[in-house]
Amino acid sequence: MGQHGMDPSAPLTGKPSKKTQRKLRNEMRTQLISFVLMIFLTSMAFISIASDAIPTGFAMPFILLLAVIQVILQLYVFMHLNERGNGWPNAMIWTGVLVAIPTVASLMLLLGIVKW
């Protein structure tokens, strides 16, 4: 790819290689498993609040933990951050998270507790 005289609007034809097909089959399975896991985690979070069975002091950190696990699955499986050669995308999103955490913490404290 990328050779001279290449027309990027020409249709892509043919089947993927055997190796790619096998990779895609495995990928499909991984994606489905993580989807089921995400459904399960969401349901757990919902039940832990809706049923009143779990004390609030425990439920808060519990559902936050479930949310973090779900987001890691979404980013690394659905959005393929786990694949090789994705170092820069990882750097980008984690830089965002690095700035996001103090942003949330400081706004919470300044607006909610100090009330400036």
Binding site: P8, P16, I49
Partner: protein
């Protein structure tokens, strides 16, 4: 050789990253998502700081209807999966499959958006206007910004689907679909936190 063009290509394993333009789109888009993370962080922080300020208006306990929000969460999560199917179809060279799964994603996105509009309409009728309280403003801004992202994502994907309905998969449109799907997943990432932090924690604590 440079003036000779090839009018057909064999399908590469990752058509979205087969050209320099595709790789640049991919990288640039992750840079954008890093920025989006900070945008939503500032809205989350504002909401968490102001959510106690309900004045005389209704608060989270009076308003939130968890089963509805749970259904919305499931719809968005499923739409994330159907967009994964779309990309797998693309990599298999099944362009029709890509289009169909993307339309399914759009339909689920519209269902989500419809329920959100219904939800806001209900809250408004319970007396929660945008300027009713600090809680109201920060809630509508956070959840509304997410809803605007969903609406934009739907518009984006529909535009791609109409523009490329007959072209077949090409090295030009593969990165476009791929990046739109990344955006769609990111919308779901943000919603997971809205569901947990705004709705579940608003109801529970």
């Amino acid at each position: 050789m440079a003036d000779q063009t090839v009018n057909q290509h064999t399908l590469p394993p990752n058509p979205e990253k087969a050209t320099l333009e595709g790789r640049n789109k991919f990288l640039g888009f992750w840079f954008f998502l890093g920025g989006e993370t900070v945008l939503f962080a500032s809205l989350f922080g504002t909401y968490l700081g102001l959510r106690g300020g309900v004045v005389s208006g209704p608060g989270p306990d009076d308003l939130f209807h968890l089963p509805l929000v749970f259904i919305m969460t499931m719809i968005l999560l499923t739409s994330s999966l159907t967009s994964v199917f779309a990309i797998i179809s693309m990599k298999r060279g099944n362009y029709k499959g890509l289009l169909v799964w993307m339309w399914v994603t759009v339909a689920l996105g519209l269902a989500f958006l419809g329920l959100e509009i219904y939800e806001f309409y209900e809250y408004y009728h319970y007396g929660l206007g945008f300027t009713t309280s600090a809680f109201a403003s920060s809630f509508y801004t956070l959840v509304g910004t997410h809803g605007a992202h969903v609406a934009f994502g739907i518009g984006w994907i529909v535009t791609l689907l109409i523009r490329y309905r007959k072209t077949g998969l090409t090295l030009t449109n593969a990165p476009k679909f791929y990046v739109a799907v990344l955006y769609w997943h990111f919308i779901d990432v943000v919603w997971v936190f809205i569901f947990s932090v705004v709705y579940l924690m608003g109801y529970g604590g």
